[in-house]
Symmetry: C2
Amino acid sequence: MGGLAMTYTYQHPHPAVTVDAVVFGFDDADLKLLLIQRKLAPFKGAWALPGGFVRLDENLEAAARRELMDETGITRLYLEQLYTFGEADRDPRERVISVAYYALVKLSDHALQAASDAENVAWFPVAELPKLGFDHERIVEIALKRLKAKVRYEPIGFELLPVKFTLGELQRLYEAVLEQPLDKRNFRKKILGMELLEALDEYQQDVAHRAAQYYRFNRQRYEQLAKRGFNFEL
Amino acid sequence: MGGLAMTYTYQHPHPAVTVDAVVFGFDDADLKLLLIQRKLAPFKGAWALPGGFVRLDENLEAAARRELMDETGITRLYLEQLYTFGEADRDPRERVISVAYYALVKLSDHALQAASDAENVAWFPVAELPKLGFDHERIVEIALKRLKAKVRYEPIGFELLPVKFTLGELQRLYEAVLEQPLDKRNFRKKILGMELLEALDEYQQDVAHRAAQYYRFNRQRYEQLAKRGFNFEL
DNA sequence: TCAAAAGTGTTAACCATACACCCATGC
DNA sequence: GCATGGGTGTATGGTTAACACTTTTGA
């Protein structure tokens, strides 16, 4: 990207623009966050959000997807813009404006894809994050707040689960994200009452207790209902 | 800003970054939007959102406030980041990433401040907007959606009204923003039940009907209650 | 005296919450 | 047979929604 001696000249000062991604996963117990360990200064050796510079011919969301692919190998994910961080002094090198995204991935698809080319990549439970470089702790905090709010009025929780899941898994996911216990009977009544879940003719195998039935989220049905004014709410 | 022959050189290409503001007002009947008429290409003569380039030493929100002051004279307003628009081709000149804000102002404070130095400035009812330059129609659409959602769970509607207002004015504001009629008795019951409004010993003057009592929003009280888990909801 | 908006309560339907036991399975 | 999580119903209290008339004032 740009030859060795290549430079770019403008008549007005331009900030650098990056995208950073807060990638969430869920492993049936904890909400987790994907971090990379920086190999370069500043904050060399520190953990930070995956991200990088936006190319001039590339949309912002495409840049976020590209960086995630390059740095972590993750390709299929729910991605949404979070907020843009542009404090004048947030990067010690030059003025850097970062458009932050948050992403939800099915950990089951990506659990083993831990390391990539070069950088160290790892999942951390959100309750036990290391110190992060730049202002990334603030970005994570805002992403968590957003996730917590959004999961209640849009059916995005399913993005964190495998396509087939049990109601117990779904409930544990909500409990982890909302950080509060939920009543089992009320949870089931409510979620099944929305008629967005399809019960499959399939049950858990080899579990040391009664096998749970699997369900699948019916997105088409949700979109139909949403058009007619239905509101997901949990 | 930058001397005549001054240039800025970087080793990687940098996009330009602007802030644009969607400024809402309310005049006791319609929700209105503040637009400026462009004097320069591109989109010369077209109406567009107020905005401009971010300076290198200036935070994003500060840039938005500065542009609003310069272009419209507006200083006291509620301002919140909306979304960042970065399609690679959204500006015909060069790559421009725009961090959009939305603002709520008390029209009563600013109604007469129509024109400023140079550019033509005007309020338009949101239902009767002219064609806008760039992708500003999309930005306005997203701002309206956000306002409509947010007004229901945070007490930001008051930012659009004078400090003293009647319950009728407040109801008309909500009806305008939500684009639906509300039941008067239920509306009053709900809003007064929150105990966020202070009834003043003051009534309308010279109205051709029974004079309405004035109320004032008690922000302190709201913040106290919010800390203890209270949720505004309308 | 008319027009215009202010102000005021009750009822019925619905929804949210709290709560406890039996079931199926593997070890 | 025990430990583990799956699966199920009801009763109560609170919240929302629908609804109509009287009051005050200026023109």
